[in-house]
């Protein structure tokens, strides 16, 4: 049984101008120990998807789905207190901003220990020992001393490590990491990604990585989902998506980034013309068609899932035409 199963997840946000369809029907599943990366640009709905799984959406956002199941438990029918027992305990989240997601008026130790004591009846000594153990695990030296420090006394890289340690306090089965390295320097980024991978191996955690950084995705993900305008337009193994991208949006994205050795310095980079569509009101057809070089009349209709190879799904009706130009 999959650890996490999501079928047809929809997130609607009512606004003054009409309903904003932030996420319109995405499905994916995740096994224990696996890493799924959801990649997309701002406004694609990737962060809302992660909040929806944790039931942390803003109050006015409406979540609907055919099925959201975590380890066999239906998360749609679970009570608020039942969800609170899962959240932070068996499903944990690492947020993007280590500067703002720690409470500035409590010590690191206090916040780490609380993550455990609010879920388990454990003596303070045991919580403290685990906190120190995990701080050492995430590569923080003099962990004992750090426990008494406040977030402002730590650098960005250290704060992000503290966030990871906090997410691990209860030994979760699933970690959702929303842009865990975006605010960090490149050398620290590599260290944090190593750390997540090592811990994953050691504890058998599943990880959902939400990011816009294609380099990070290619290097750490088992499975990749490319999101555009609230839909998964292409899913597959990291190899499939990066070595054999099929959707015009995925191809466009990969051409946008300068890659030493592939792009010619000083020459124009590939660019996706136009802008992300407005997601308010009724949406029909492929959301990418107004920016797509291969768009045709049929793109305005329903877009079925095409699978060029097993376990590689693409939401595009123009695949045959694309193949012809490739």
């Amino acid at each position: 049984m999959a650890l996490l199963e999501v079928q047809n997840l929809v997130i609607d946000i009512p606004t003054d101008a009409g309903v904003l369809h932030a996420v319109s029907g995405i499905s994916f599943s995740l096994e224990r120990g696996e890493t799924l990366a959801i990649v997309g640009e701002s406004g694609s709905g990737k962060s809302l998807t992660s909040l929806a799984l944790m039931d942390l959406l803003p109050r006015r956002a409406q979540r609907k789905a055919d099925r959201i199941a975590f380890d066999g438990t239906d998360l749609q029918s679970i009570s608020a207190s039942g969800m609170r027992k899962l959240r932070g305990n068996r499903m944990a989240m690492i947020f993007q901003e280590p500067m703002t997601s720690l409470n500035p008026s409590y010590t690191i130790g206090n916040q780490l220990m609380e993550a455990l004591t609010c879920h388990r009846r454990v003596p303070a000594k045991e919580a403290r020992d685990r906190a120190i153990h995990l701080l050492e695990k995430v590569g923080i030296t003099a962990a004992d001393k750090r426990m008494g420090q406040y977030p402002h006394q730590l650098s960005g890289g250290l704060r992000q490590r503290v966030m990871i340690a906090m997410a691990l306090m209860c030994g979760p089965d699933l970690i959702i990491a929303d842009e865990p390295t975006t605010a960090l320097d490149v050398t620290i980024q590599a260290q944090i990604l190593h750390l997540i991978a090592d811990l994953q191996k050691e504890f058998g955690m599943a990880v959902i990585l939400i990011t816009h950084d294609l380099g990070v995705v290619a290097r750490v993900a088992d499975k990749v989902g490319v999101m555009y305008a609230g839909r998964l337009v292409e899913t597959g193994s990291a190899r499939d998506v990066f070595k054999d991208p099929r959707h015009p949006y995925t191809r466009g994205l990969l051409e946008c980034i300068p890659v030493p050795g592939r792009t010619q310095p000083g020459m124009p980079l590939g660019a996706i013309r136009g802008q992300v569509p407005n997601l308010i009101g009724k949406l029909e057809g492929c959301a990418f068609r107004n920016r797509c070089d291969f768009a045709a009349g049929e793109c305005a209709g329903t877009i079925p899932l095409a699978a060029p190879t097993p376990a590689h799904d693409v939401r595009c009706v123009r695949l045959p035409a694309l193949e012809a130009t490739a």
């Binding site: 640009e41 890289g157 320097d185 490149v186 980024q189 590599a190 994205l253 980034i257 030493p260 980079l269």
Partner: protein, 331 residues
Amino acid sequence: MSSKDDTILELRDVTRTFRISQGMFRQKATLTAVAGVSLKVKRGEVYALVGESGSGKSTLAKMLLGLLPPSSGEILIDGTPIAATDRIAVARRIQPIFQDPYSSLNPRKSISQLIALPLVVHGIGTSAERQKKVAEMLDVVGLPRRLLDASPSQLSGGQRQRVAIARALVMKPEVVICDEPTSALDVSVQAQILNLLLELKKELGLTYFFISHNLAVVEHLADRVAVMYLGRFVEERTRAGLFAQPRHPYTRALLESVLTPDPDLGVPDTHLGATFPNPLTPVAGCAFHPRCPSALEICRVAPPPVAQQPDGWATCHLAQAASSPAPQPAH
């Protein structure tokens, strides 16, 4: 043209220190944000500066813009010291593009007011002439003219950054200081802005001082690259030389940390220690030695020498050994 005329921007041994409060009853400490930096930017080149947060990049940018005076040393534009020049006159020749177009544009002004402001400040043209100029600038940066009366909140991130570029270029500056101009943007928008910057450079003959931590972007854009670590330049090379054969271990670690979208490669190990440098307590010898994977005994005691390279230099004991022939015995 002599080689001297080629230099548009020059730093001579520039240092900037700050006094940092350590608490009410403790003595203030001195933080050296920029330590003895010298550089020459040639007219028409893209000079890139890379380094991690806290390395002093932004302090350096502020000094170039005349927003912060150096504690010691000299900054010259076209051979004239900035310190001796009126700030408004400096602004005519050097203009910035900042990282975050969400905070660098006044939300209460219209797009045309934002772009026209430098012209107003410098008292250039009549109102009608300024409006004409603003409309032309919109064409240059590829924004539709219907956005003239829009406010920044109605624009996307990429459009806002185009407004910031239009505002920087409306005075026809010679040098543009680009401080992480695409870090806050999505990848598809980043590509559009980088293409625009390259195009404008060619058309208007601009010189860019380009600050970034994204080495893939730097490799794409730069002619020469300087690497900064804890306030000091540790390596300055041509783009091709630096990316093919980095001489400083820190540069090497930075290059290894670049994650290209290749699913066959894992996450690289930079072998850098986790010891985070504290700029308030400088170490003896080479500033990088606590994190350096190949540090020698000499690195802990003696400051590194400048090792000349065919296309630049690096300050490292090891680069010195690698680039010069082995020293002959004295007798």
